[in-house]
Amino acid sequence: MRAAAADQVEPAINKYLVAVLAWAVPGGGHLLLRRRQKGVTFLIVLTLMFATGLWLEGRIFPLAFDLSQPLVGLAAVADLGIGIPYFIAKFMGQGAGRVVAITYEYGNAFAIVAGLLNMLVVLDAWDIAEGRK
């Protein structure tokens, strides 16, 4: 029974679709590739980490790139790495950031690193879709 299941050929899934879904929904690419445990873990942990960044009064940096403030642009790109939660937070008016809050920099670190980690998760999903893992 186990061998029969192992012999089943997994249907080819478009790797570009996997990458886009993996970016948009943390863990979504792994869920599409039937890596349920990993997908659910990424979904919970990365979303929670981003939400913690907002709870700590961190800022969601604006995408408008200003040459006089290149680090703001880089932080915005990193924030955007989390995918749809970025836009949901913006839509809900979250992530304004309160500079005088004692946890402001901590919040920024949580939100930025959540986005960067999701970029790594996208690369992992891409490798799986390509058959490298």
Binding site: K38, F42, V45, T52, L56, I102, F110, V121, D124
Partner: protein
Amino acid sequence: MTSHLGLMALFAVFVSTVFATLMRDEPRDQLWFGSKLVAGFIGAGILIGWLLYPLPL
């Protein structure tokens, strides 16, 4: 909860969970590797904190 140490530990747990899930396939291996990562992050944070303590800032 919002102390520097508490937030560092929470940050370590989040990052370690993602790295362990990325780098190991079996849940048992993930748990073991993730635990070592958390301990490493927190231990290194405390060690570097003490090494920097004498420096005037």
